[in-house]
Symmetry: C3
Subunit: 346 residues, 3 copies
């Protein structure tokens, strides 16, 4: 599933691509997080002087857009942003297409060209949300990644979001959440289907960290087997575990972290009407204070943002002391600073 | 009305927020303008090296967008720009909202997150133009400002635009307009209602500088009492004065500055049809050369831009020697360079 | 047609405007290309420290948007981007307009203001595509250029694109294409009319370089006399030649370069229906491998991008070894780095 050049590339100062935490060993991620913490304490404002980060957004962004520019600037570098459909024409991604429609440029030209203008390229390209197997195979992102002969960063693909996962791992460390603590990834509601990228990346990250992970979701929203298997492999290597349930009471009992996330119905992938029908009766899948009755007393609430207040998570939780959502977002900056440093610093 | 931390914060190199000229003493503003002039003569291209300015635009911009990035770069810093609706989703601002509509992120997350990525944040958020009292109270901007724990700049709020006011004050100084000269703030026409931010800020600035200010406007367009009272208080402290009239001939006689500005009918605030009816017969409220027959011979024309040519001001005036509009716009750069330096330089 | 300040300005480190290759002697362009090659080998990451590039896009962009920011950053400078209609209101360009429509700001204010915020301004403003003579006269671009009292760069105007031409010249040099080689500028199909800027600039560039240029196009798509004459004058000075034909077999025989480009029907300029009727039967004007049967064996394929795959050029050619399109795009960066250096470095 991953297009990464693999672990062979990962020797300190020799990382070439940051596409998936699974491309790295646990020790390598721990080392990267140590670099993030060091750069947070001791900035290196000249480390990437004269270097350029290209940011290609096929989909909207807030945290990624701002935090990558801030991270690059903190290291003395600069960035450009390209957003097809916003000042730039739309991109065609289909191989062999006769381009007589709305898209004026093919990724086969657009992406190598942008790569030639920068020292590292970040690409965001969400799931198409039509064909589950195509999305699981990262068909689009892999095709784009194969066109880049520069250091490359996955800024969220169909089923991955390694920058978010790295930031979340750092947040867990910063808050001293035990390595083998109970981590509940809970489905929450949303007006429409959202991609599997964050739930898949979060599940894998928590398993790779060594946590006892429970995926809590209603019927129809089970995570695909490939995603579960990848996480279980990571758990096996780290001493963690992965289970899945639709029993909220059982899942939340003793939890040290509730990570709330919205995603689409996997039982009706790409079927807007069926997805809507499945979620219509799931209005109580909105995290309330009452969810924390049987958790650990200091159980924390996590979410990658943006979050629909009072649809996915109630104000009382987001505005209360359990919430780590702002720390997670801040750690996008610290985590990505480390990724850029590792990819580019000499 | 202001959310500023107040005058206690303002000691050289200790300013924390730039939200309203009224938060500062006249002497403090004079000092800030001296800094602007000094940085214009003697740039400090390393003063803010490695520092980041976040720019959040809830509304369109030209001068503010370009001049803040230029100011930050002149001081060696860098910037990122976030524009909800342009590459970023829309923001929800209502407290307690159940977010099942178009807005994907609440300002309660979005703004603290952006603040965590930068050293100083600028926010632009125009008046809603529906409820005059809510706009006068700066309800929206204050709510956003309360979420920021970093240095903060008001890039135009419902009834304020301190960066424009500071640039205009510098322009008056640069052109040696007498401190106690006659300053006419004249309403001019526009295809539709515009906010009160610039007229309110301009009126207060001129009064605070010590000028003899006349607000000239047709019936139905009187400035709200709160705005007039704030300006009168500033005039009392500076030796200036504030009067209001609909008598154009009396207002213009002896004027040393005519500051033209469009705003909505305060007698029909938020009522698009009534506003249109009021302005329908006011086509002669377009500044012509003939307006300057009884002014001082060297009377200058000011406007904050953008301006509708031949609706608000005739070509003959904008293209003539009286016009200071380009100098005002240029001074956005010099004034904001001083604000950034004061907020951030060590 | 050009608004350039002319050759008088062009002494090393004394160039003021980069608007048209025709404003410079052949030797001056060769010298500029030598600077580009030198900066490619020996970057000068502090040459433009503290300097600001303003980028004004009246039309969409990808290469220009990214490569100018990258070029400026490589030299230690920074950039801002203004895109009317994307975060900034629309611009009015008509002199004397009563601005009661959609456009909130006139270029007579907007452009001098932006120029005052930067050290060099780039402007992109495509042909209107209605009145051929107005476009040939560069009416719009010249009006905007006349408002700028700073170094100025043409980032594509109605009938010119000097940055693309410079990048293409460098690409021809990099690939050791003989100075007097046969260069075929061939019309290719597109779903709708495109401007004459690139064909005009390419034709002139190749002629100025000294090449034997053939313009190959179907009936109805002849380049205007003014464009042909300008190229013939350049050819006369450089020892090159310019011919025009609709005979593809004759044109391609012995070609060392095929430069494919789409443009609108000059016989029906501004007439969308007539243009569509003319191109409806021209589907075979899509470059295939079969076009290279009688060319030089190592004949190269050039195109400025973006390109409609399988409409203008077939996959088999774009993905084959003849294609220089990525090198051309990369040379936008190297060529523009030289232009910025020449305009600004002390």
């Amino acid at each position: 599933m991953s297009t990464c050049c693999g672990r062979r590339c990962w020797r300190s100062a020799d990382m070439k691509r940051f596409l998936d935490l699974a491309d790295f060993s646990r020790a390598e991620i721990v080392d990267l997080l140590a670099l993030a913490a060091r750069l947070e304490r001791q900035p290196e404002p000249q480390a990437l002087a004269g270097r350029m980060l290209g940011l290609l957004f096929m989909n909207p962004s807030l945290r990624t857009l701002a935090s990558f520019q801030a991270a690059m600037a903190r290291l003395g570098g600069n960035s450009f942003v390209i957003t097809p459909g916003q000042g730039t024409w739309l991109f065609e991604t289909r191989l062999g297409a006769t381009m007589n429609g709305a898209s004026a440029e093919h990724v086969r030209e657009g992406i190598p060209v942008l790569a030639s203008y920068c020292d590292v390229l970040g690409i965001r390209s969400f799931a198409e949300g039509k064909d589950l197997n195509a999305d699981l195979a990262e068909t689009n992102f892999s095709a784009m990644a194969s066109l880049v002969n520069k250091p490359l960063i996955n800024m969220e693909s169909a089923v991955n979001h390694p920058c978010q996962a790295l930031a979340d791992w750092k947040t867990l460390d910063d808050c001293a959440i035990p390595t083998h603590g109970k981590f509940v990834l809970s489905w929450v509601n949303h007006p429409r289907a959202l991609p599997l990228a964050v739930p898949a990346a979060t599940l894998h990250m928590a398993a790779m960290r060594g946590m006892q992970v429970t995926v809590l979701r209603p019927e129809g929203f089970a995570l695909p087997a490939a995603i579960m298997q990848k996480a279980r492999a990571a758990a096996a290597a780290s001493g963690g575990s992965v289970t899945e349930t639709d029993d909220r009471a059982a899942a939340l009992a003793g939890a040290q972290v509730v990570y709330a996330k919205e995603w689409g119905a996997t039982a009706a992938y790409g079927d807007v009407k069926a997805d809507a029908a499945l979620r219509a009766s799931l209005g109580d899948w909105c995290v309330q204070n009452s969810w924390f009755t049987t958790t650990a007393a200091d159980c924390r609430l996590m979410h990658c943002l943006p979050v629909r207040r009072n649809v996915a998570i109630a104000d009382e939780v987001l505005d209360g002391p359990r919430s780590l959502v702002l720390q997670e977002a801040y750690n996008r900056l610290t985590a990505q600073t480390a990724v850029l440093h590792r990819l580019l610093a000499r």
